[in-house]
């Protein structure tokens, strides 16, 4: 044990033997304080401040997020986030699958917003292969993406409020989320991992029961948002817990690579739906809510306002749907399979069907980067083809990864109880971060 103090070069501070022993070598953490030199303050090395492990299995970390905290009393001196516990190698797996088959894997990246990942991956394929997507497919995609946003924001609001002690909001949010998941089941046959979006359009057209259910929900949902607001927005306890906590300045937020509501909470007007429109978002009327203070409360309130904007977009999309031209997927048979009925009549259809289900389609040996506004922020897909039917490299830039990396800066100087509020306010999903 005593040798720990002399290991390594240029030691200005000796780690007392008791501190090393207090860490419980070979019991809870097989490492030495030496590994943390430079990452935590020197006071941690002498044992003056306490090192505390929060997570990876802790209810308020929203998954398997591990935070190594250095504490002076209850005050956080340093916060070192550690991710990777949910790393599933999705990007590597996609490299071994043909493009169409890889779509199902993208659902599993951000399991609270699977449609967003479907969309960004399909849009990258469509850009690389220069595939046109009919207008009808685009409008349905917009409906799905905004429903996904509602779905994700509802889970976020429920769990965020639960973390800070408001139990009932959680139950209400999940009640409404259940209705959205039911609608996803109508579309794709699956509640969460639907893989409804496919390269070139969608898996199938809207089912007859979907639109009536959606219209009913659109009528019902805004009143429910009012209810959440009544419970939280002007609640003095809620405001006490969230105002002035985890403040990020706008320039700092840009430098840290934050995006989505977390960035807009700091007042930076950056929404990819407006800045770089895709899927015809330029034709919809909606506002981008911005915060003023960059604290937890602003990030909370922006997401509430975003839910109302999503309802606005969906209502416009429902009106747009009957006029939207084209089918639910492209007629380009090199990329989408022919309808079943055609196989009996057309030899060409049989060939296309056979080629698509055995080999898949090929994309050029070049690279594209596509980014969309997911509920959490900018989710980007870097896709590099090989010229064959498999990707050379696919990389997802995920908002949770960027937000968790900024957690250390955001939580410095706050109390542990505030850290729970901050972790909730960045809306991280560990599947999204670790991929």
């Amino acid at each position: 044990m005593a040798t720990m103090a002399t290991k390594g070069p240029n030691l200005s501070l000796d780690i007392p033997v008791e501190t090393e022993q207090a860490l419980g070598q070979k019991q809870t953490w097989e490492g030495s304080l030496e590994e943390l030199r430079g990452l935590v303050s020197d006071r941690a090395l002498t044992g003056e401040t306490m090192l505390l492990n929060l997570g990876p299995h802790h209810p308020s970390t929203h998954g398997v997020l591990r935070l190594l905290l250095e504490l002076d009393g209850e005050e956080i001196i340093t916060c070192l986030p550690d991710v990777g516990y949910l790393h599933t190698g999705i990007e590597k797996n996609i490299e071994s699958k043909s493009y169409e088959k890889a779509v199902t894997l993208t659902d599993r990246i951000d399991y609270l917003a699977p449609m967003s990942n479907n969309a960004v991956f399909c849009m990258a394929i469509e850009k690389l292969g220069d595939i046109d997507v009919p207008e009808r497919a685009q409008v349905i995609r917009v409906i799905c993406l905004e429903l996904t946003r509602l779905n994700s924001h509802l889970v976020w609001l429920g769990t965020h409020a639960l973390d800070l002690g408001a139990m009932s909001v959680f139950l209400y949010c999940f009640r409404e989320r259940e209705m959205i998941l039911d609608m996803f089941e109508m579309l794709s046959g699956q509640r969460m991992m639907g893989s409804y979006m496919r390269p070139g359009g969608l898996w199938r057209d809207l089912t007859p029961d979907f639109l009536p259910a959606l219209e009913k929900f659109m009528d019902y949902f805004p009143r429910k948002v009012d209810d959440y607001e009544k419970l939280l927005t002007n609640n003095p306890i809620w405001r006490d817990r969230t105002e002035g906590i985890g403040v990020v300045e706008p320039d700092e937020a840009i430098a840290l690579g934050l995006s989505g509501p977390t960035l807009r909470g700091s007042g930076v007007n950056f929404d990819i739906r407006k800045a770089n429109p895709y899927l015809g978002y330029e034709n919809y009327e909606f506002d981008v809510p911005l915060g003023e203070h960059g604290d937890v409360y602003d990030r909370f309130y922006i997401r509430i306002l975003e839910m109302r904007q999503s309802v606005r977009i969906i209502n416009q999309a429902i009106k747009r749907l009957p006029q939207a031209s084209g089918s639910f997927r492209t007629e380009n048979r090199k990329f989408t399979p022919p309808p079943r009925a055609e196989l009996g009549r057309s030899m060409e259809a049989v060939i296309h069907h056979f080629k698509l289900w055995t080999e898949g389609f090929s994309l050029p040996d070049d690279e594209v980067y596509v980014a969309i506004e997911s509920p959490r922020g900018e989710v980007g897909c870097y896709l590099h083809g090989t010229g064959g039917n498999k990707a050379r490299r696919v990389h997802f830039k995920t908002p949770s990864f960027m937000h968790i990396s900024a957690l250390g800066k955001m939580s410095q100087g706050h109390m542990i109880a505030d850290l729970v509020a901050i972790v909730g306010s960045i809306d991280c999903v560990l599947g999204d971060s670790d991929r």
Binding site: L39, G84, G257, N276, D366, E367, Y369, A371, R392, R435
Partner: protein
Amino acid sequence: MYIPDALDPIAAMTENLPDVLLDRHEFRGEITLIVAPANVVTAVRFLETTKGLVYNYLSDISAVDYFDLKLGYGDYGARPERFAVSYHLFSMLYGRRIRVKTYVNEDSPIVPTMTGVWAAANWLEREIFDMMGIRFEGHQNMRRVLMPEDWEGNPHRRDYPLGYETVMFSFNVDDINKHKPYAEE
């Protein structure tokens, strides 16, 4: 508010930094500027600070491995080196994207760090170090981020098998034997 007119990034680069810009590439409306690894920070700083360009947001850093099992080591087709690192920048003022790309040598995969320009590069570079084995010089905390600390190998390299063994051929037998764990006699 006065906003200067948007400049053509390629023209601005050729005019101001002719030695830095090695090549350019346009594909599906995306502009790629190719620079040498040593000049990455210079090029990115220029794109970030020049009036009329202001690529002020780092969207993503991605790395790609051009190794092909059929061609073997040393032959990367049209590409000069085995690895490439791409920086995807976004200009919030003009709403457009650009890619700065640099080819990285296989034997000494080192690129200067971008953390001095954007703090966001911190974990993105750590991820590339973890997955591709490309080091970023000057990075304060070059450790693995997703894989366990004691993991061997870099999973996103194209010669890293996906849960099965790479088939041995005469061209790669030496390389496989170097890493393959055989039972001790």
